[in-house]
């Protein structure tokens, strides 16, 4: 049996008082795909950063291919054959593919010779691994899936034998993700070793050979993928039994509460992001909008919520028009019963340096119950915040703590508590569980269903197809600013995947 590709022994790493990695042992066999899963903050990224030389472990040892190594910088890691594909791509946007791949490996002051060599080498790699990309294309013009391919090529170009991928499918359509998995399988066949960091259990089941589960900085288990199940892994991740499938009864749709008619929205550059979109949401139903990020969902939501001016079209809230093409005011919409959980909680939904209590009134800070004349009624605000903390199990339960110090899941709960507790008519929720851990996801999903059952009209936007499918009563798929199709909650992933890639019903029939 060959020596393991990677062997980590007794790795410890602390950031101040927080121990991010505690006595971690990990063995990754050569020529396998090894999954590492865990909630946010479980220490997966820290561990991989140690392996890639971004951080130094406080103690412990690393062996690669049976030989002990010390890795001080990413350059050391590259030299011993470790490549990393980051969650957020490290590419120069206005460079070509070739220039990006060469970056850091130019081999001399004059580029002419090395460019030709690099091009030849790159073509060889593309062929060997079925990773076709136009080497002369400029990065910013490539779709995300191809940009990721460039990242992989970059690592291979440097001679990586071990490839670490950090949450690689977060930005991909199901089809792109499938292609990525085929590429990974092929790389494995050629003898490369792959470490896949993810929080998506299905991906783990689909392509890995072995899987290690991390929780709160420790490695809680390593399993052969063929001998475990989604349920077991979820339980290991969270440390208790989790309900993966949301339980909900049938919807009882009532009157139309939110009607969008022929809405068109352009972005700053004048590019049409939402193109003549119409749909309605009734009381007591959840309408889900699926789609790959960047297909107009964000702009659609912002226009409905009064944060972005639309070019044309109408939006009716509870039968009355919202002035979306003019002076729609988020504050007024809130008074009229439109609650909005924005997709970006860090810079939109919350003011991170604020105390939790201050954030719990953001947007509702003009309400009489929070004010005494021109002054904030601090006691009332804190009491109100404490009640929400209790009801939504926000931890730590301290309304005076700075919001930046809460975890992603708890920050999201702060936003949800604020918007849901206002008893809105229409609830618009965007990416409710992005960057949120499994335990909190379960809670958030339950709350959204409860809102529906309480007769609210819920518009849900998410790039997580599972989330859309398990919560929605009706599913709209957006592609290139338009609604590519509508499906029921029992639509298959493949069906939705086609719509997300822009293959609409008509085209499908023609093929």
């Amino acid at each position: 049996m060959p020596a393991p590709a990677i062997e980590l022994t007794g790795i410890n790493k602390s950031f101040g008082p927080v121990q991010a990695n505690r006595d971690i042992n990990l063995t990754v066999e050569q020529g396998t795909i090894h999954g590492i899963i865990g909630e946010n903050g479980a220490g997966k990224s820290t561990l991989m950063s140690i392996l890639y030389g971004f951080y130094q472990a406080d103690s412990g040892s690393i062996s690669v291919g049976g030989k002990p190594v010390t890795i001080h910088t990413p350059n050391d890691a590259i030299a011993i054959g470790i490549g990393m594909v980051h969650q957020h791509f490290m590419l120069v946007q206005n460079f070509t593919v070739l220039e990006n791949v060469m970056l850091g490996a130019e081999g001399g002051q004059l580029l002419t010779g090395s460019i030709a060599d690099a091009r030849a080498e790159l073509h060889k790699l593309e062929e060997a691994y079925a990773l076709e990309v136009d080497t002369e294309a400029v990065i910013e013009e490539l779709p995300v899936g191809l940009q990721q391919r460039v990242e992989i090529l970059k690592a291979l170009y440097r001679g990586a034998e071990i490839l670490i991928l950090d949450e690689p499918t977060g930005v991909l359509t199901p089809a792109e993700a499938d292609h990525l998995f085929r590429v990974l399988a092929q790389l494995k066949e050629q003898g490369k070793t792959i470490v896949l960091i993810t929080h998506k259990l299905r991906e783990i089941m689909a392509i890995t050979d072995n899987v290690s589960v991390m929780r709160q900085g420790t490695m809680v288990a390593t399993r052969k993928t063929s001998e475990t199940s989604v349920e077991e892994l979820a339980e290991l991740m969270v440390g208790r039994h989790v309900l993966l499938r949301v339980e909900k009864g049938p919807a009882h749709p009532g009157d139309v509460k939110l009607a969008v008619e022929n809405l068109t929205v352009r972005d700053r550059r004048g590019v049409t992001m939402v193109n003549n979109v119409s749909f309605e949401v009734r009381a007591g139903e959840i309408v889900g909008i699926a789609g790959v990020a960047g297909n107009g969902q964000s702009e659609l939501i912002e226009a409905i919520a009064g944060m972005r001016q639309a070019v044309s079209g109408r939006v009716l809230l509870d039968g009355l028009p919202i002035h979306v093409t003019g002076s729609a005011d988020p504050a007024e919409l809130r008074r009229r019963g439109l609650a909005h959980v924005p997709e970006d909680r860090h810079y939109t939904g919350l003011v991170l340096p604020f105390e939790e209590a201050e954030n719990s009134i953001l947007g509702y800070h003009g309400q009489a119950k929070y004010l005494k004349g021109p002054f904030l009624d601090i006691d009332a605000i804190r009491k109100d915040a404490a009640a929400k903390i209790e009801a939504y199990d926000i931890r730590p339960p301290n309304c005076r703590l700075k919001s930046a110090n809460f975890s992603g899941g708890n920050q999201q709960k702060i936003v949800l508590a604020r918007e849901m507790e206002q008893d809105p008519t229409v609830l618009v929720v965007a990416q409710p569980t992005r960057g949120v851990d499994v335990g909190a996801i379960e809670f958030i999903h339950k709350r959204i269903i409860e809102m529906r059952d309480a007769g609210k009209a819920v518009l849900l936007v998410s790039v997580e197809l599972d989330e859309i499918r398990s919560l929605s009563d009706r599913i709209l798929v957006m592609f290139a600013g338009q609604v590519a199709g509508e499906r029921g909650p029992d639509a298959t992933e493949g069906e939705l995947g086609l719509l997300m890639a822009g293959i609409t019903d008509g085209q499908e029939a023609a093929e």
Partner: protein, 380 residues
């Protein structure tokens, strides 16, 4: 993801780091004094005793500090909204016009205690009005407030020269200044306050404006941290996106904040014009608007930090004058260098030693710090 730096306890953040910065500034200043051929230890002694060693010294120190409190608060309020108001100099200058107009009009009509509130209103109104135009240009047209407020400093200077050699100058006078106000437009001195602490003194310019500055400091704290308006200002300052999300009108909040900022700068004029010189002179602001920036930075935009920072700069002004007088090799310009070094280390290089201090706290004092991600919004 956790960063390798620990969050500092408040006392280190607000006390230790400014102290380190200040110490370094004075050490470097000591080198400058050494280069000039004087003994730095002796120079430091003269500086401190010149500022605090006598009743008169204290009076002058607090008189200068009064100016800086007003301009420091002005800069701080704008900071909270994410705006960099460099126009304190011009706003204070124009504020002086408001003070002078009230005093010239009513100094034979009303008693001082009626002229005082009128002058406060007039200085605040004109200072605020002077900030209004840059504010509306920023809010509506996106013209950068830093550029426009600097330009408005120059315009203010030109306007005042025009008025002081023309309409405001008494007939037949050769000095570019207004006539001297009558006694009913003089603010009461606070000399008794200093004698109360057992100091003897000759007359100092310290006047009632100092008390006003302290009251206004409290009001600014109340405004920023306890009112709905302050909440909106801070929301806009930390995150314009969150502000739009919350339905706060960007135009409205920028204009209101800048006008409050301008009004605070304008009120600074009360101190020299109504409290000391009793007439409006050319260039009476003498850089206080710019010192306000350093004071606000050093005081972390909080009144409780701005007051001590202002007194520090008051000390540099007063003690520096003594130093230039006592040590022939140290000129007035060298005092400006020392002030510049303090601004450099306490203001511009405020975060120079922070990583080292954080690393120290992170490794040594585990138990009373909690690691936290450094939010980008905190870095102002």
């Amino acid at each position: 993801m956790a960063t390798p730096y620990a969050k500092l306890p408040a006392w280190a953040d607000y006390g230790l780091i400014p102290l380190i910065n200040l110490t370094v500034a004075f050490l470097v200043s000591g080198l400058v004094v050494l280069l000039a051929g004087e003994n730095p230890v002796k120079a430091a002694g003269i500086l401190v005793s010149g500022a605090f060693g006598s009743g008169s010294g204290i009076g002058y120190t607090l008189f200068y500090a009064t100016n800086f409190i007003f301009t420091g608060l002005s800069v701080a309020v704008a900071f909270h909204c994410g705006l960099f108001n460099i126009g304190g100099e011009g706003q204070a200058y124009i504020g002086g016009l408001g003070v002078a107009l009230v005093c010239l009009a009513f100094d034979t009509v009303f008693p001082w205690w009626l002229n005082f509130p009128l002058a406060i209103l007039a200085s605040a109104a004109l200072g605020g009005a002077w900030a209004f135009i840059p504010a509306i240009l920023q809010a509506r047209r996106g013209s950068h407030i830093v550029i426009t407020t600097i330009m408005f400093n120059f315009i203010a200077a030109s306007v005042m020269v025009y008025l002081l050699v023309g309409a405001l100058k008494p007939l037949g006078s050769m000095a570019p200044q207004t006539r001297t106000f009558e006694a009913a437009a003089h603010l009461p001195k606070l000399d008794w306050l200093i004698t109360m602490f057992g100091f003897k003194l000759r007359s100092t310019p310290l006047n009632l404006s100092f008390v006003l500055a302290l009251v206004v400091s409290f009001l600014v704290w109340l405004l920023i941290w306890r009112t709905k308006l302050g909440y909106e200002i801070r929301t806009q300052g930390f995150s314009p996106r969150a502000s739009r999300y919350a339905g706060i009108s960007e135009t409205r909040i920028i204009v209101i904040t800048m006008m409050i900022s301008g009004a605070l700068a304008g009120m600074m004029a009360l101190n020299p014009v109504m409290g000391d010189q009793h007439r409006l002179q050319l260039d009476f602001v003498t850089g206080a608007g710019f010192v306000g920036i350093a004071v606000a930075l050093m005081g972390r935009s909080h009144p409780a930090g701005i007051i001590p920072a202002s007194i520090l700069f008051g000390m540099l002004y007063q003690g520096g004058a003594e130093l230039a007088f006592e040590m022939p090799n140290i000129s007035r310009d060298m005092i400006v260098i020392i002030q510049g070094l303090v601004i450099l280390f306490a203001g511009a290089l405020e975060n120079l030693f922070r990583p080292a201090v954080q690393a120290f706290f992170g490794s040594v004092l585990h138990e009373d710090v909690r690691a936290a991600p450094i939010a980008s919004g905190e870095s102002h």
